[in-house]
């Protein structure tokens, strides 16, 4: 790919295309936090994390951050995923599978609907 910039529009285009380069360095509009304590990993949190990243990539979403957190003490509910989106507080999902994760991205992040069947906790 040659990136010759010949006009101002070319510059803007490259800027658009490059935002992902640094977008992971800001919090983004929403964030997904995957519990990755020993118990979480044992319960399949790694696969859930990968599913989240793949789904975001597939949908070309670049302003959502994905981070990990340690054990929060509800090990029987692992894998645990928190989604923090503006106006919807912090929603904790339990026993999440990779397929659930894809649904969470589609419903919660994209459409703004909480996936009620998986919710195990809410906070503001």
């Amino acid at each position: 790919m040659t990136n010759k910039i010949r006009t101002l529009d070319d510059l803007r285009r490259i800027r658009e295309a490059s935002t992902d380069l640094t977008s992971a360095r800001s919090k983004g509009r929403a964030s997904i936090v995957v519990g990755m304590g020993t118990c979480g990993i044992a319960a399949g949190a790694r696969e859930v994390m990968t599913a989240a990243l793949q789904e975001l990539e597939k949908r070309n979403i670049h302003d959502v951050s994905v981070t990990t957190t340690g054990c929060i003490g509800m090990c029987q509910q692992e894998p645990l995923v928190d989604v923090i989106a503006p106006g919807m507080g912090r929603i904790t999902y339990g026993l999440v599978t990779p397929e659930d994760m894809a649904a969470i991205v589609a419903e919660h992040i994209v459409n703004g609907h909480i996936v009620e069947r998986l919710v195990i906790g809410r906070a503001d």
Binding site: T22, A24, M36, G37, V66, T69, G70
Partner: protein, 597 residues
């Protein structure tokens, strides 16, 4: 493009590199690959974060967790705990010296809290070797705007409206300077970036180039468009190999992307940029000497006028600005002059980067709005004096600057206020001193510097600084007379008034200010043959307290000139005639029985 869920930024600046950041980076990449995380975690090398003292610095995003003094051996734990399990490694977090509490995030660290980063916006945040990261942060928008929607006169007006003044020392209004070069007739003009940074104790220009080279290039191109130049030079000290490397890469990338060269953005604007390595002479930072050096001559200043704007490099109209000045330009064009002018004081607008060093807890680069007080910089941002000793003075402006004291701590910092107090803004070096620093010794230190760097072209500077230095050496070795002080004052006045260039004209400043604010220290050296700070070795006396001495003999064993005698029966004592005052015995004594006087 794959999405990385986390970016790990490793500082690759000179400071962190010398504390081992290259090893950290290598081990980190290996560890990430070993754990198959290389599809989701990106390791990025950045420029300086300004907190070199705490290096190597590693920042983990998106959380913005700030780790300091990370060693290669810490990496497996950092990856295993933080990256995999999301648990920050407590022991590597920044700790607040006051209460030893750990601060996880960049934004909460007091050192960064009061800063306002414009010139340093991208430093430590982007990978300087990747032009796309610069563009992603709005880079080259300023150039685009200037070239496509502004006339050169409008560009100059915008810079004038911003109130930006030269950051290289003089503080000359940048927009006005550009308008001179713009008015000079001729098809061939040059722009120059002064990156000689000769002021010892200042390193903002190095950090700016290392951390965000494209910002300087973009600024220069906007300036070139404004004055009608098509060629530029960056004159960089040879002591800054990393900065030169980064700049070379940046220029190559800008050319590859078509942002430099011919017909930029289809507007007919042409520009090429060269790098010139300096060869180690302080006076080459002076603009006329600098141009002489680019032309391959001895770098000696020339009388002005003619000014460079009229008769500059190879006789052509030339505009020369400092690195930090250039670094502000693009953002002024993007956000407007009024935006920049909304910060700062009436006559000193915007922000200034200071290199805070010496006896403060947090040394480093700080960018603050003009008008902030010295107290805020030294105590709030810098965390106060090292080992909680007493603040004595702060030297501002390097060899041309002066020492300010306690009474100036609440002075709002601006070009005018600093000059009024006897210092200068200079390039923004701030060296903090405590009770252990002798002000006569500091004055001598600076004169040694200017005397060595005087180019020898004009007599007042060449001879005057030499004799001032001799007098100071006489005083610090205990042979001074009261008369020497008045001779020193006369010489200072003479050198200041009669020298050809800024080097000589400002060389006496450190002597003048220390005489003004610390005259009693000079008098103590002369009258009492005593250095109140115990810094001038010739006036020191080491003595062993016979009561406290446990007769272990460690001092005598370590004395390089065998001037200590004693035995198990008899307390040890120092033969003052033979003693060379090296201080070895003082350091070795396990019982604190040796006193310094």
């Amino acid at each position: 493009m794959p999405i990385f869920r986390s970016h790990i930024l490793v500082c690759g600046g000179t400071g962190c590199s010398s504390s081992g950041s290259q090893d950290v980076q290598k081990v980190l990449r290996d560890e990430i690959a070993k754990r198959n995380l290389d599809k989701e975690i990106l390791v990025v090398q950045t420029g300086c974060h300004g907190m070199c003292e705490m290096g190597p610095i590693v920042v983990v995003y998106p959380e913005g967790t700030f780790y300091c003094r990370v060693q290669a051996s810490d990496v497996p734990e950092l990856v295993g705990e933080h990256i995999v399990k999301g648990r920050p490694v407590q022991r590597l977090l920044y700790s607040v010296p006051e209460d030893a509490s750990r601060v996880p995030f960049y934004k909460d660290i007091p050192f960064y809290g009061k800063q306002h980063r414009i010139a340093l916006k991208n430093c430590g945040y982007i990978n300087p070797d990747n032009i796309e990261e610069y563009i992603a942060r709005g880079g080259y928008e300023g150039l685009g705007k200037a070239l496509t929607s502004m006339t050169s006169a409008q560009v100059i007006d915008e810079v004038k409206a911003s109130g930006l003044r030269g950051r290289g020392g003089g503080g000359f209004p940048t927009g006005l300077k550009w308008s001179f070069a713009a008015k000079s007739p001729g098809p061939k003009k040059y722009v120059i970036c002064n990156a000689d940074e000769g002021d010892p104790g200042a390193f903002m220009d190095r950090s700016l180039i290392e951390g965000d080279p494209h910002a300087i290039i973009e600024g220069m191109m906007i300036g070139a468009y404004a004055i009608g130049a098509d060629e530029g030079y960056v004159y960089c000290r040879a002591e800054y190999p990393l900065a030169i490397e980064r700049l070379k890469t940046a220029i190559a990338q800008a050319e590859e992307f078509g942002l430099m060269g011919t017909d930029v953005l289809g507007t007919g604007f042409n520009f090429t940029l060269h790098i010139k390595e300096g060869a180690g002479a302080f006076v080459c930072g002076e603009e006329t000497a600098l141009m002489g050096s680019i032309e391959g001559r001895r770098g000696m200043p020339m009388p002005r006028p003619p000014f460079p704007a009229v008769h500059g490099l190879w006789g052509k109209p030339t505009n020369i600005n400092n690195v930090e000045t250039w670094a502000n330009v693009a953002q002024i064009i993007v956000n407007g002059g009024a935006w920049y002018a909304s910060m700062g004081t009436e006559k000193s607008k915007g922000t200034k980067v200071f290199a805070l060093t010496g006896k403060v807890k947090h040394t480093g680069l700080v960018e603050v709005p003009m008008g902030i007080t010295l107290r805020e910089i030294i105590f709030d941002i810098g965390g106060g004096i090292l080992n909680d000793r007493k603040f004595k003075a702060v030297q501002i402006g390097g060899p041309s600057g002066g020492c300010l004291t306690e009474e100036h701590l609440d002075l709002p910092v601006s070009y005018e206020s600093l000059t009024g107090a006897g210092a200068i803004m200079g390039s923004g070096g701030m060296v903090v001193m405590d009770e252990d620093n002798c002000m006569v010794d500091v004055a001598k230190f600076f004169l040694e510097f200017t005397q060595r760097e005087s180019c020898g072209k004009c007599v007042p500077c060449r001879e005057g600084t030499k004799h001032m230095l001799l007098l100071l050496e006489k005083i610090t070795s205990g042979r001074g007379t009261m008369e020497d002080i008045s001779t020193l004052e006369q010489l200072a006045e003479m050198v200041r008034e009669m020298s050809l260039c800024g080097l000589g004209q400002t060389a006496p400043n450190p002597v003048i200010t220390t005489l003004r604010y610390f005259r009693d220290e000079y008098e103590a050296h002369i009258r009492d043959k005593r250095c109140p700070s115990h810094a001038c070795t010739a006036l020191l006396r080491y003595e062993i307290d016979p009561e406290t001495c446990k007769r272990c003999g460690l001092c005598a064993k370590n004395c390089p000139v065998s001037c200590i005698s004693g035995s198990r029966q008899e307390p040890y004592r120092i033969d003052q005639e033979k003693c060379i005052r090296c201080g070895t015995c003082f350091q070795k004594c396990p019982f604190g029985a040796i006193g310094k006087n």
